[in-house]
Symmetry: C2
Subunit: 491 residues, 2 copies
Amino acid sequence: MVMDRVKCGLLDGLVMDASDAVRRLVPRVGTIATGGMSGVAVPKEFPRALADYVGEVGGFSLTLLTGGATSAAYEDALSRIPNAVRARYPYLSGGLYKELANRGSLSFFDYGLNKFNKLVRRGFIKVDLAVFEATAVMDDCGVVPSISLDAVPSFIQGADKVVIEVNESKPVLEGLHDTYSPGDGEVIPIRNVTDRVGGARIMLPREKIGAVIITNAGEGVTKSYKPPARVESEIAEKAVEFMAEEAGRGFFGRLREAGRLVMQPGGGPLASALADAVQGSGLSLGVWAETLPVKWTELIGGPINGISASALYALPGEEPRLDKFLGDYRDFVGRVVIRGQEVSNNPEVIQRLGVISIQQALEVDIYGNANISHIGGDVYNGVGGSVDFAPSASLLIIALPSTTSDGLVSRIVPATGHVDVPEHYVDVVVTEQGVADLRGLPPRDRARAIIENCAHPRFRDGLLKYYEAVVERRGGHEPYDLGLAGKWLND
Amino acid sequence: MVMDRVKCGLLDGLVMDASDAVRRLVPRVGTIATGGMSGVAVPKEFPRALADYVGEVGGFSLTLLTGGATSAAYEDALSRIPNAVRARYPYLSGGLYKELANRGSLSFFDYGLNKFNKLVRRGFIKVDLAVFEATAVMDDCGVVPSISLDAVPSFIQGADKVVIEVNESKPVLEGLHDTYSPGDGEVIPIRNVTDRVGGARIMLPREKIGAVIITNAGEGVTKSYKPPARVESEIAEKAVEFMAEEAGRGFFGRLREAGRLVMQPGGGPLASALADAVQGSGLSLGVWAETLPVKWTELIGGPINGISASALYALPGEEPRLDKFLGDYRDFVGRVVIRGQEVSNNPEVIQRLGVISIQQALEVDIYGNANISHIGGDVYNGVGGSVDFAPSASLLIIALPSTTSDGLVSRIVPATGHVDVPEHYVDVVVTEQGVADLRGLPPRDRARAIIENCAHPRFRDGLLKYYEAVVERRGGHEPYDLGLAGKWLND
């Protein structure tokens, strides 16, 4: 049986319904890894069939790995079988499972993605079954991936069996991907944003393939992120203005002259606002990203000269842009490269390319320590690329609104309950209020710079009062008082 | 004038007394960088002459950069001119300047060394004068360095002028060094611990050399570290036992079989205790270190098959071992390589070699966040290699005694006032009490594992009580309460 999208004869007999695949391949106790990230390229048929089967048969204990934020459809399906799910890694985007993690009844830990991919690839996290979306299986049995490559190469290497979900609603995206996966001890030979050092297709051993599912289901509406608000536009403008100044002199000036300025615009609504802000900045930039709003691809030929990302996704309201990109994908071959996370988030390449990284945070303390992931003790966001990009970026900009959206709570705080990115890595803090350039400053000057330039005027005096109190009462190189800080937060 | 140790005719006329060099080259306002690390290879004549001159003339405002922990002689000299020193980076080992930093009257920030070297090399931290210890200048004007290479390659690249202090008390250490300094955008071509990819001598442009000083002063007695105590031996034994188990299976088993197990034994007394513990472990290891106690070189041919370090130093009482190494250095050429910090602490190489990193901490919270540097608000230690090694190590072990040496204060705490290494990077915590393997555990299980395995029995109940209280009162994925934590610490 040769089909339009499954041209490899060796797979005859493996094309089946999702319900058959689930019945044949899902272990009673084991680990199932599904590809997809930022809500895109998440398998469409498999999760529903999994929930049906597990709910019907009962007695399962599963660990679920994902490539990142899943789709609403995935979460809806899995929310029917919470008792069958023992653990989830490395990211929770919302819904029932986030609630369970915050109640302490779901095993969940939020890994940086470079580390997570290595743990899987090296066998520390064992995978029984890997499931990922593809757009075709070609004559040579090479698999053409979908719009996200995320952790798929690592899942496949770590897995005993693989299910390929071929999605016919997208074109065959041949040529967009670099499926290279780093080998231990190897040099990663990438020197430019759009270098391709591996094949465009995933070649996987025939005996690993457990099933091929065909679907025509499109991407749903994105729920992972909010659209950018006015405050994000203001932050993005300030951040880009700062970058443009840096690019006017010294090290970044030399990179600009050599056409080698590269940035990573973080994730979510800020990444979208940054796409607007770089237009008219006069900059010419490469983008080396983890996951990236698809609207960035529209800037190619303008301010953007090349893009590497582990996934391209649509923010809410921007879904037609993803459809347009998919329709025109041939125009982007060679200028947009989709890679696995162990490459996109690899410190070796981030350092080599001199990436300027802009990371969004939930809150920042007065010394520049950033909390990316927790509100109170509750996990809110994943750490995303921050723990991978921060240590190796040539310039790390932490960007956030100075307050919560209702204006009631300052995001510049005396102390954070969770530090994901310690001050040592943080060069610059940007809010809609202004920019604090922390390079070369000792902690006490960092505190003054952040409070004066970044805090909202309503909270500035309170923060200064806390700061002056700890200087007086506690003193030291980086004065703090957990009790006072806790009190400040509760007041 | 051709001298025994300065064979390069081009330098005729530049050999002078330290006092002349200082008078000619030290700017009224500017930055002076001196090489040396862990107390060794710090210039001997220049700091004294600098303090004499600056004290006599007055009106100076200097920023002092160092390669790491300086010598007692350096600190003694500089402590005579505190009013002339505006700022110091990136590390303070003790004495008057640490006091000044903790009073807030000295500008000081504690950079990770990979980042610090880049800031200097790329011109973000400008250097007027770089001074470093060498053991000879050869016929070709190539400089043979001393027992530490630390930040010297970056200081030289960043500096307007360079002073070479040739120390005749050490042999000409030709062949021990790899003076390679990474170029921006380049692959660092190191694939094995002892690979040498640059020259053994530093070649620097004639016009940069401002003076050559000759000295015969030996290294003083080390004050940077304490000798290892019994508790460090117990910790080291537990850590090595854990490593040996890991090396018996899976990924690390494969590295062992390929002869590619590599470790970094942290710094200070624990690094010394680890040298004792690896003997009899049955392991064969390469060592990829930042700064390293010289006693490790005695294990070559035994459990250690090769060493790379940015400096080799003696712990207190171990000074004769350094003398012995210097006398026998020829036996170690090819098996010991001394490198600059931008290589030793480079995430690209740390990741490629799969380094198992053991980092000492001052305290660890119940979730595994580590404080390396601060006690209260006071800077106590530098972050050292931790911020460079933690994100890219194949296995990160945080090692520390469960209490302070008087037993009165637990080093396992509800929350730390300073996080240098966030939980995301931390795989294992080891104290003399036991080992907590945190891989794959969610935060609440991490807390139980750390409290039960690593806390001192005297503090275990108190920590559990805090933990249970925050679970009940605050809940969440990673429950905490800054106020309660502050109270716990003060009780």
